[in-house]
Symmetry: C2
Subunit: 235 residues, 2 copies
Amino acid sequence: MVTTKRSPGGMSEQRRLRLRLEISREAARLFWAQGVAATSGDQIAAAVGLSTRTIWRHFRSKESCAEPIVMQGVVTLMTLLRRWPRQRSLEDHLAAELAGFRDRPPPVDLSDERLAMKMIRLADTEPALRTAWLMACDQVEREMCAVIGDRLGRPADDLEVRLHAAATASVVRVLDEHIGAAILADIGTDTNAAAPAGAGADGTAGLTTDVPALARRYAHAIRTATSGVVGDPVA
Amino acid sequence: MVTTKRSPGGMSEQRRLRLRLEISREAARLFWAQGVAATSGDQIAAAVGLSTRTIWRHFRSKESCAEPIVMQGVVTLMTLLRRWPRQRSLEDHLAAELAGFRDRPPPVDLSDERLAMKMIRLADTEPALRTAWLMACDQVEREMCAVIGDRLGRPADDLEVRLHAAATASVVRVLDEHIGAAILADIGTDTNAAAPAGAGADGTAGLTTDVPALARRYAHAIRTATSGVVGDPVA
DNA sequence: TGTCATGTGTCACTAAGTGACATACTGTCG
DNA sequence: CGACAGTATGTCACTTAGTGACACATGACA
């Protein structure tokens, strides 16, 4: 097999993550194209040019190969929330951050984003994949504990904080599923999902054009799910 | 092996469920005693007195053997919510139903309930089991969609309804985890969890004694997670 | 340049899960 | 009462996910 370049005494953490992501990409592509059950570990290994044994060194199971790509679809939101300054309202912060993605492109690739949406959609029917998606949501919830705990001036493991975080994470999940499904339906469900030619519909229309509406939608859902506790600026 | 009595042309659905539950009980016991990884399908089969092949006929995977017992811990809440009359407040309904369990015992066995708590606790460290727990929560969420949709006079798949249902289900989950952990810690983490001798602490104290407080706690969390949309009586 | 640390390939192996076929049980019809 | 039919289970062979052990390649550092 192709012997990949490797760095010295200790693969850098960054390299590890990049490799995991690359494997995940191929796995997700195969999962989407032919289903999870029909995709073998050997196929994934062949697709990424590694030995099967090495795949299992980086992932504990076949399904977990989808995790990084799914997680990628979520890191945007997480880093975005981590940056939320105390003195800013949720709406303002979301709108500002999302608008920023117009000039500087978002940290994750668009094709990865689409792949993540496909995995989330697959998770609807493939129980094996559902785990990956729910794990990602779990991460969001933990992250939210930190963010909300900080804004409320309480420890992150406080019950009240955990309740707000759980409610927030779950509405974000539902919104993600809803919007993701809409976008996928929009660009068609074919395997490639290459950029369509049509005027205006560039496949990311729902994502990039109506930014303020999106921001408002998320913010409103989060406010509702926390009775307004999360959303306002705090001293 | 012991040939179990079986009924005629077509195992009744009830029999199927009882058998699944019995297998689940043994599996959960083993999982708790020695961990999921250390428990083999053969062991589960031996414990319940069936051939290994039959286990796989009733469960698609080893971990899914825990599902029924975990689900049992949740059916109480689901049937309880399904019975919620429109003209009643959440607090009143919860308190009344829970109080009713004092006289007529709840539909699920107490030892099963404890087993479910143990599985939920295990799910914290065993990713394989987490699936079962999250699947159960998923069921609750779907159920909530129906209940809330009905009370709001909207279709169950309405986005607004789904958001409220998701938020509700997630706070119920957190509360369950929190209270379950507390009860488990209370009765000790030993395998048997036999009825302790101590005065007052019968291992179910947290469940049966402070019913009104419990009801208020759940109701308050749900109201908060839905900005008060779910909780009041409706015309 | 030699050595050390670490990632990867190869091979043998365990265990999860399935397919196919034989069999035992049970209710029903004659 | 006895043959029939339907279904759940047992047994066995088989595929495949995932692991352990060992050898090898690679690149940093002395």
